[in-house]
Symmetry: C2
Subunit: 423 residues, 2 copies
């Protein structure tokens, strides 16, 4: 048992994503001692993860070590570790290495993972995108698929390797589909001798009636048109019936494909289940208006793991919401320490952006709706601005400028086993 | 069996390193059809591999897809695959996927791997550095060692996690030791709360009488002095007796350490053993003066897999020698096609450089001997100049400038399993 120096309240924060990191920083000048626990050594700029999966950026471009970000904040200790138990009555958190941390305040901000809605057998055949390891695994699969197509012994095999399906028409699915179409049509041009990569079929499959359902209908329609112009086949109202090693099934139709990516659903981190608290269907913890757990004034949940309703609508699982929740938990802890009433969380919606591909994006800010090139520039500068670290901003800007002019993607390196994923 | 169009001589080149790639490029305007086979999809700029292992550069910064490099050379087909058999009488090469390639000329340039001199049991405890996967595995180990030290339950465990040994005082060992000392003393400063990373012990262990044995003695001595100034403990004339999961043995002395890196020896690629040709102790093929295999005028070996003597000394296993051999094989093939006599290979030695760490390097060019800051600047610009790809040069230059001013290393991202390598 590791005990903090007596007297100073100990805040344990689980998860170094946007919610956890923003809470940690907001408590920099308070008389508390913070232990930030994460399973990974880095904060990840998740909005650009699809760029790593599609070989446009290197993994370190969008991640920074938590220790490095927080090196100057002397009231923080960063701990690489995984939480396996929470005892809310005893106020302790237990880690896999057996160590346990006693807390005065606990913030659970361990985020979300992808979910297969009861079809866990699909997972090995349709990888999802939540971590850098996921992104590198997808990059490997995408690049190897073209290699396998080039070496294919039959036309059927070749077609199966050149068939790419992305399941789920939310922002991640749209980004992956648009970028993959660009890779096939432009990036790989002239590089193969037996196949024409531009013949690759990129299909975006959405069960609901439209892509980017969180945007106004007019922007969904424009996103669809932009995807189609990039060469993506968009299927809406089309649930996937089955996925296996050899392809997928839509209704009665069977499609042979060796590359299916999953962007269809998220579930909350399993840590939420360790709390004795009500949860929604996706496993998110239903929190109080101040983001604490019912009956536990010292225990908070924020970010993608928290289910918050505002004006009858759920607060969305996006980075700005997570940052705002993290900062709010810091304010509530401060209020508790001063025996003041806790403020109520209020999400400020600054708008909604999604990128689609080269010069294609949609932006929705209040009454402003943009699409196409202006939306793309807007998206690009917002994302560079919010990246952590001056070096990262500069390098990402250079990589994008380079990619823009050359149509190239510099990270097209296959790591690990070079044989194909087993079909 | 894949057969090239009849009539045009088919050159099969195995290995896309410096020798194979330079041979391929040199044959761009000849009336031959080339198949370049590599197990990996990328050419690797091996001289900077230690920078990836020590988190200074990202993997894609020092690698480029072979297809991309060669996209404009229409007489080349790049094939991702692994050779498992060579039938020199039938002139065929067989790949793991069962396909076999019939050749008129064959160049084997599959390089070298690290060797444990009969101590293969040491391999899991003392990883070597030859591929990008090796570099990322070493990066993981180095970064996790500091994390484990921070979380260690006892002073002994902490010391064992802060003990780093590099076995082998050649260029790779010197680079790793110097850079690791800089990471411990500068990069990680202020980032830990329970350990002082500067207390890490970095030890370079060489069995022979001096480090950088391929340099003049005066430069070896200066390299040693520079290493010691950076904080490396240099042991010469000290063979390692044993390495296991818990540490290593020098003579009778046992040292507890969880991080031992292997930079002590290379062996030729196992493909050399598939030829019916004499080989040296390290498995390199003893080639004729024109780099062909005795009795096989159409079969060549180049790069680290070839053993070539010149003026009574072996041609060293360095990048410039490999490039020159590759270009020479192209000339010999051209001569054979014209029924002209084959030229004799002659290595032009442009000098020898090794970097040690921040502002520390040694350079030996003819009568010129440099060390310290001037040698370091020289090394730096030579290496940037020879990197493939404009983008890579620019990004590496920015990364180094950034690292120089900030002492930071941007790629300190732990990927894969975050638990410790089993001690």
């Amino acid at each position: 048992m590791t005990t903090p120096p007596s007297g100073i309240p100990h805040v344990v924060i689980v998860g170094g994503g946007f919610a956890g990191l923003w809470a940690t920083r907001a408590l920099a000048r308070d008389g508390v001692r913070i232990t930030l626990v994460d399973r990974r050594n880095h904060h990840l700029f998740q909005p650009l993860l699809y760029q790593v999966a599609t070989a446009g950026l290197s993994a370190p471009d969008i991640a920074a070590p938590l220790r490095h970000i927080l090196r100057g904040q002397r009231n923080v200790e960063v701990r690489l570790g995984e939480v396996i138990d929470i005892d809310a009555a005893a106020r302790t958190v237990t880690l896999t290495d057996g160590d346990s941390l006693r807390y005065d305040f606990l913030l659970l901000a361990s985020g979300a993972t992808h979910a297969y809605f009861g079809h866990d057998a699909w997972a090995p055949h349709a990888p999802g995108l939540k971590t850098l390891d996921d992104a590198l695994a997808i990059r490997r699969r995408l690049l190897l698929a073209f290699e396998r197509a080039e070496a294919a012994a039959s036309a059927e095999e070749r077609a199966a390797w050149l068939d790419f399906a992305i399941v789920g028409g939310g922002p991640t699915g749209v980004e992956l589909a648009g970028t993959l179409a660009e890779i096939a049509r432009h990036t790989l041009r002239n590089e193969f001798r037996r196949i024409d990569p531009a013949e690759a079929k990129v299909r975006l499959i959405e069960a609901g009636p439209r892509v980017l359902a969180s945007f106004p209908e007019s922007l969904s329609a424009r996103a669809r048109a932009q995807l189609e112009r990039l060469g993506v086949e968009v299927l809406t109202g089309t649930p996937v019936a089955d996925i296996d090693a050899d392809g997928y099934t839509l209704g009665d139709a069977r499609v042979r494909s060796h590359t299916v990516l999953w962007a269809a659903g998220v579930a909350a981190s399993p840590l939420g289940a360790l709390l004795d608290a009500p949860r929604d269907r996706a496993g998110r913890v239903l929190v109080q208006p101040d983001l604490s757990v019912p009956g536990r004034a010292e225990l908070f949940v924020a970010g993608d793991l928290a289910s918050v309703q505002q004006d009858g609508k759920p607060v969305p699982g996006v980075a700005p919401a997570a940052k705002q929740m993290g900062a709010h938990v810091a304010r509530v802890i401060r209020a508790r320490l001063r025996n003041e009433p806790a403020p109520t969380f209020r999400y400020r919606d600054f708008g909604n952006l999604a990128t689609i591909g080269r010069m294609a994006a949609v932006v929705h800010l209040g009454r402003l709706k943009l699409s196409g090139l202006p939306a793309w520039w807007f998206w690009l500068f917002i994302h560079i601005f919010f990246l952590i670290g001056f070096r990262n901003r500069l390098i990402v800007l250079i990589d994008w400028a380079w990619a823009y002019w050359s149509y190239q993607r510099h990270a097209r390196i296959i790591l690990g086993e070079q044989r194909p994923p087993l079909p």
